[in-house]
Amino acid sequence: MNKKLISIIISVAILSLLPFLVTGFWVRLLTNIFMFAILASALNIISGFTGYAAFGNMVFFGVGAYTVAVLMNKYHFSFISSFIAAGFISILLALILGFLLLRLKGHYFALGTLGAAEAIKYIIDNLTELTGGAQGITIPSMKGGPFLINISFYFIMFALLVIIVIFTWWLSKSRLGYTFKAIRANEEAASVMGINTTIYKIVAWSLAGLFTGLAGAIYAYWFSYIDPPTVFDVMWVVRMFVIILIGGAGTVFGPVIGAFLLEGLSELVWSNFLNLHLGILGILIIITILIIPNGLASLTTEGKGLKGLLESIRKNRVNAL
C-alpha cells in the first residue's frame, strides 16, 4: 500500500510539472486523456460498482456542455458559475431520469438510458432559439495566449480527475461503495438486507451524472463550439465502456489506466490510419473481451510471473457456451 501511495504521489508530481516541459500537442493529448479518465471513472460508479449498464451516459456530457454553452453565450455568465450550474443540472437530470428508468434492469435499463439520451439530443436539437439547434453554438473562448489556455485546461481537467479518483478510492472503502457492490452482486438479497436499492441506485447514477456533466462543461469551454451530434454521440459512451473493460470494472485506477492506453494509442497510432480507425477499435474491443473481460486489473489475481498471468487469464475469461 505504501509503495502504491508513493508511486501515486510521484505520478501526480510528474503530471503537474509535465505541461511546462512538453509541446502544446502533448498538453492537449494529456488533457484529452484526463477527460476520458474522468468520464470512464464516472461511468464506473454506476456500471462498475453498481452493475447497471448505463448506455446513455453521454446524455450528462451533452447536457453539461450545453448548460455552459447556453449560459455563457446567451446570458453572459462566467465560466465558474456556469460550471457549477452544469453540475446541478446534471444531478437534477440524473434524479429525474433515475426515478423513471432505474426500476428497469439489465438490457431494459441500457435501452431506456439510450432512448432517453437520444430523445434529449433531439429536444436540444429542436430548441433552436435557445441552443442554436443543429447549427451548434459557440462559447466565448478563454482570454490569453495559446500556452496559457492549454495549461489552464490541462490543470482544470487534471484537478477534476484527481478529485474523482480520490472519491472512487474513498468509495471502494466506504459503506456506500459496499452498498453499491451489494446491489451489483444480488439486488434482491441487498433489498432483503434492508437496503433501499432504488435510492442507492439513484445516488450512484447522480454521482456518475455529476462528474460526466462537469467533464462536458469543461469540454464545451475548451472546444469553444459544440453541436448536438458531437456531444451526444454514442461513441463517447462506447469509449467509456471500452476504457473500463481494458482497465477493469469496479476498480479505482482501472479507468485511468484504460484511458491512458486507449486514448494514448488511438491518438498516437491509429490517427495515422483514418480509414481504419473504427475497425481497429472494433477489433480491440473483440480481443479485449475474448482475452481479458475483467480488464488488466485481473491479470495478477492468480499470483505473479508468467504462470500466474496465464492462470489469471484462464480463470477470468467469460465461460464459453
Binding site: L104, H107, L111, G115, F241, L278, P293, A320
Partner: protein, 288 residues
C-alpha cells in the same frame, strides 16, 4: 393527407416488422441485445445494391441469395465469436456486439466507400391510384415480401424441428440441453436466421432509402423501439411494433416538423419501457 400517411405507414411497417423479428429473435433466445443487427441490414442492402449494379438482377429476385449469404455470416459470427462470450454480463455482450458493429461498418466503408448509394428501379415511379390515395408499386412489393417472410418465419418457428428446438432453448436452456438439443448449433442457427431476416430487410429498404456505411446505428435505434413495443420474442408482436412505429413516424410527420420525427420514436421507446415494460401485448418468451 392522413389516409395517404396511413397507407405509407402500413407499407413501411411490414419492413420494420422484419427488422424487429430478427432482432427480437436473438434477444429472446440468447438474452443478448445484438447491436450488430443494424450492420447485417446494411450488408443486405449493399449486397442487393452490388448484385443490381453489377449483374442487373432486380433486388426482389436477389433476396434468396442475400438471405443465404447473410445466414452464413450470422452463423459463423455466432459459432466462432459470440458463443464464446454469450454467457457474459450485459456490459460484456453490449460492448462486444458494438465492437462487431463498428468493425463491419469499417469493412463496408473500405469496400463501398462513404458515398450514399441507392437503387433506382425502372418501375420506381409506378403507382396504383385507389380512391384519394396512391399506392407505389415498389412499396407494395416490399410490403408483400415482408408479410410473406413473416408468415414463413412463423411457420418455421411453429412447425419445423429446428424452430421448435429454438423455442425450447429460449424457454429453458438447461432443459433443452438435457433432451439432446445441440445448444451451440441452435444458437448459431438462431443468429443465422436473424441475420438472414436482417439481410432481407436491407434488400427491401435499398430501393426506398439511401445506404451508406453508417446506417447501422439509426436502424438499430428503430429495432429497439419495434422490439420493445412488440414485446420480447414475439413474431406477431414485432410485426405490430413495426406497424406502430412506422405509423407514428408517417402520421407524426404530417402534423409536426420532420426534425421531430426521430424524437418521436425515442419518446415512444422510453414511455413504453417505463409504463409497459412487457410491450403492448405483454408477451415475453418466443411465440408464447
Amino acid at each position: 393527407m392522413l389516409p395517404q400517411a396511413i397507407i405509407n405507414g402500413i407499407l413501411l411497417g411490414a419492413v420494420y416488422g422484419t427488422i424487429g423479428i430478427g432482432f427480437s429473435l436473438v434477444w429472446g433466445v440468447m438474452n443478448i441485445i445484438n447491436l450488430a443487427h443494424g450492420s447485417f441490414i446494411m450488408i443486405g442492402a449493399y449486397l442487393s445494391y452490388t448484385i443490381y449494379t453489377v449483374y442487373g438482377i432486380d433486388p426482389f429476385l436477389s433476396i434468396p441469395i442475400v438471405m443465404v449469404l447473410l445466414f452464413l455470416i450470422g452463423y459463423a459470427i455466432q459459432r466462432y465469436l459470440m458463443n464464446l462470450v454469450v454467457r457474459g454480463s450485459v456490459f460484456i455482450t453490449l460492448t462486444f456486439t458494438f465492437g462487431l458493429q463498428i468493425l463491419i461498418a469499417n469493412i463496408c466503408l473500405l469496400i463501398w466507400k462513404a458515398d450514399y448509394r441507392s437503387i433506382n428501379l425502372s418501375y420506381s415511379g409506378a403507382s396504383i391510384p385507389i380512391g384519394g390515395v396512391v399506392i407505389p408499386v415498389v412499396r407494395l412489393g416490399i410490403f408483400a415480401v415482408a408479410i410473406l417472410l413473416t408468415f414463413l418465419f412463423y411457420i418455421f418457428m411453429k412447425r419445423t424441428k429446428i424452430g421448435l428446438a429454438i423455442n425450447a432453448t429460449a424457454q429453458n436452456y438447461e432443459g433443452a440441453r438435457v433432451v439432446g438439443v445441440d445448444v451451440k448449433n441452435i444458437y448459431s442457427i438462431t443468429m443465422g436466421v436473424s441475420a438472414a431476416l436482417a439481410g432481407v430487410s436491407g434488400s427491401l429498404i435499398a430501393p426506398i432509402m439511401s445506404i451508406n456505411p453508417f446506417i447501422g446505428g439509426p436502424l438499430i435505434g428503430k429495432a429497439f423501439v419495434i422490439c420493445v413495443l412488440g414485446g420480447l420474442g414475439s413474431t406477431v408482436g414485432a410485426l405490430a411494433g413495426g406497424l406502430v412505429l412506422a405509423l407514428v413516424e408517417t402520421i407524426g410527420t404530417s402534423f409536426i416538423p420532420s426534425s421531430f420525427q426521430n424524437l418521436l420514436g425515442f419518446v415512444v421507446l422510453v414511455l413504453v419501457l417505463i409504463f409497459m415494460p412487457r410491450g403492448l401485448f405483454g408477451k415475453r418468451l418466443y411465440n408464447e
